[in-house]
């Protein structure tokens, strides 16, 4: 049994958070809760997500989870953001149960981003 609290995947995402940053003139949301400060921004092409970026103040699992979310949601339909569940991130990254609250902040932020994006989309209509 490994005594390392971080899986290889967490280390990989933490070491190279290629989606860290902020998109200019894009839809965005920011949440502060559970000792986490998270900002997400999204650029759309039609109804699809063209690019995602995150900024975060949090533990390594939160940074890795934010990176993993951005990596896996670029190219998907913007409406998917509203259905986002953090449980896949929890499992894929073997997040310890005591950090559940922090990972749920990501879920809240993604769904909030989904609402912002939908609002922007409806305005364009």
């Amino acid at each position: 049994m490994s005594s390392d609290p971080y899986s290889a995947r967490v280390r990989e995402l933490f070491d190279a958070p290629v989606h860290a940053g902020c998109l200019d003139n894009a839809s965005g949301t920011q949440i502060e809760d559970q000792g986490v400060r998270l900002r997400l921004t999204a650029e759309l092409t039609g109804s699809d997500i063209r690019a995602l970026r995150f900024q975060v103040w949090g533990c390594p699992h939160v940074i890795a989870a934010a990176e993993m979310f951005c990596e896996s949601y670029e190219g998907r339909a913007a409406s998917d953001l509203l259905e986002f569940s953090a449980s896949d991130l929890m499992q894929s990254l073997s997040v310890p149960v005591e950090k559940t609250g922090r990972i749920l902040v990501i879920e809240d932020a993604v769904r909030s981003l989904g609402s912002v994006v939908r609002g922007a989309f409806n305005q364009d209509d």
Partner: protein, 391 residues
């Protein structure tokens, strides 16, 4: 080009490697051609083990400027602390049940006092000043007619703050209050003079001073009123105060570690100061950085720094391959911010961002320079990816 091995150890306040001379002395007593006999045995081999132990006691006593007969061997500082605190409180409880310590003591001390509180003893918990140092006037004010014991550590394991043991001892002696010192971080590193200091009980361990884990000692002063009740029973060794077969090889190792430490204490201090000052001068210009403690009043082997708006766990991971501590080493699995730093007035966030760098004899300039480089780049990276606070 800086050499970058897999792990770089800057956690010498948690433990130290065994000095080669110490390891040699220790292993010589462990094998079939060595003096492995039980020192309680009356035959010639047993008597030889006794001689080895007596020599080790002399080596340690010389380091502390005391008499070897005042030392009791234990398994380490935690046991020594418990034996000193519980043992003396039980022995003197008919005279009074009031005890005094500081909130910034090691868990081995605070948990022992908490156990006594649960048994009906009354404990006054003193707060340090901003720099971690005890205001002796506050200690004097806290002492009462029924106060029996004061326990203050010499060097704080998290911040390196060095208490004025000589004058605290004098204040206790004036009121005939026993004075225990947890010296786990100072024995063999700072000068200690038990002949002239008014210390009644002192706890120490070998593994912080280039000896092995599993061996420590408790000094018990030879003066009226200073006595402890044993916590273990059986065998009658060590005047029945701490029975059990004496681990001769561990004791010999502690003795040798003490001798080595005594012979090179000034060189060690000079080296540690150079390493600490080099590191601090390399990071002190970072915005929001602050020292936990006071560099003028602290042991040079320990430097504890917090930094504003940085998440501690991410900082620690970014610092790999450095082995450093966040909070107390014994408490590093806790998610709670360090109680020691909270007692110094640090916010939860600042306490959580604290990193203790502790330097040792093997620490090299290249390692310190690489630590500076890694700390600065970690701070830069984490600040770059953090959003502004919402207004």
């Amino acid at each position: 080009m800086t050499k970058r091995p897999n792990l770089i150890y800057l956690d010498y306040a948690a433990s130290t490697p065994v000095d080669e001379r110490v390891a040699e002395a220790m292993t010589a007593l462990m094998t079939a051609d060595g003096n492995y006999a039980n020192p309680s045995s009356t035959h010639a081999a047993g008597r030889r083990s006794v001689e080895h132990i007596a020599h080790a006691a002399d080596q340690l006593a010389e380091l502390l400027n005391t008499d070897a007969t005042r030392l009791i061997w234990t398994s380490g500082a935690t046991e020594s602390d418990n034996l000193a605190i519980l043992g003396s409180a039980y022995y003197r409880q008919k005279r009074g049940r009031h005890l005094i310590t500081m909130r910034t003591e090691h868990k081995a001390v605070t948990d022992a006092f908490s156990a006594l509180e649960r048994q009906g003893f009354e404990v006054t918990w003193l707060d340090p000043e901003f720099n971690g140092i005890l205001d002796i006037g506050k200690l004097e004010d806290a002492m009462r007619d029924d106060t029996q014991l004061v326990s203050i550590m010499h060097v704080n394991n998290e911040t390196g703050a060095v208490q004025d043991i000589r004058n605290i001892g004098a204040a206790c002696r004036k009121r005939d209050v026993l004075f225990h010192v947890d010296a786990a971080q100072s024995v063999g590193k700072l000068p200690i003079d038990l002949e002239s200091w008014c210390v009644d009980l002192m706890s120490m361990t070998a593994h912080k001073v280039y000896g092995p884990k599993g061996i420590g000692a408790l000094y018990i002063a030879d003066r009226p009123g200073v006595h402890i009740e044993p916590l273990l029973f059986g065998g009658g060794q060590q005047r029945k105060l701490r029975p059990g077969t004496l681990p001769a090889q561990q004791i010999v190792a502690f003795g040798m570690a003490a001798e080595v430490a005594r012979s090179r204490m000034n060189d060690d201090l000079e080296h540690l100061k150079a390493m600490r000052d080099r590191f601090w001068s390399g990071v002190c210009d970072l915005p929001g950085i602050m020292l936990n403690g006071d560099i003028g009043n602290s042991f040079p082997g320990i430097l504890n720094v917090s930094i504003e708006d940085i998440e501690g766990e991410s900082l620690l991971l970014s610092l790999e391959p450095f082995c450093v501590a966040t909070g107390s080493a014994c408490n590093s699995k806790s998610q709670e911010p360090s109680y020691v730093l909270r007692a110094l007035g640090r916010s939860d966030e600042l306490a959580q961002s604290a990193i203790r760098f502790s330097f040792g004899r093997p620490t090299q300039v290249e390692e310190v320079d690489f630590a500076i480089e890694r700390y600065r780049s970690a701070i830069e990276k984490l600040r770059q990816i953090a959003p502004e606070r919402a207004t």
